[in-house]
Symmetry: C2
Subunit: 136 residues, 2 copies
Amino acid sequence: MAKITKINHVAIVVPEIEGALNFWQEALGLHLHHVEDVPSQKSAVAFLPIGESEVELVKPTSDDSGVAKFLADKGPGMHHLCFEVDDLEGMLADLKAKGVRLINETPQVLPGRKMAFIHPKASNGVLVELYQLIKD
Amino acid sequence: MAKITKINHVAIVVPEIEGALNFWQEALGLHLHHVEDVPSQKSAVAFLPIGESEVELVKPTSDDSGVAKFLADKGPGMHHLCFEVDDLEGMLADLKAKGVRLINETPQVLPGRKMAFIHPKASNGVLVELYQLIKD
């Protein structure tokens, strides 16, 4: 039975990375691991590991992305909650069998990880991402 | 220097606990530790530990609370992000010295823990809670 092992990250949409780091890195003292351009998500992401999880600051790099629309409609704030799972395909099959509405019925594969989103209508308005690391 | 050690919890506002557990516990497979009435916050809270953190499902128990207003205005969803710190007073003094706007300039003390909120204007729209466990 597939299971969740931890919170992988909490993603926060911000209008620009540098200004956001003034708070999350400088004031709060989180460590900035790196900033990465993620073209597939039309965003730039700052990764700040904390404990076994990460805070991710996500800045849209194109006006036509979901993240850009979120920022335009709601302003900056928490965007999604990502759990790490030990068997993503198994978890998606299980959720589907239970009638849970999914955004991605099959995993999206990115370098080093695969992921899928659950529809927020299924999860109290929370956009939940499921994430499995891919070992080399 | 005070520092953050981990994500303590992510709080999610829900209209009722039982329905929310259908997703978070039954479908997603998170373990329900317990449900607690928190009169000081005018809410009932379901605690679902995952890894070193928790998901907290928060249901308002009064119409005049901040959580009730959040639910009425925005609907269910992520409400706040809580970090555990090793020295809450030190962290608050440090944030204040850096000009970060706080909701609570001194800790609120609850059974087993003390906490304070940072104003979301300071933190990209995210309501950030800081939390320190109190040892007996």
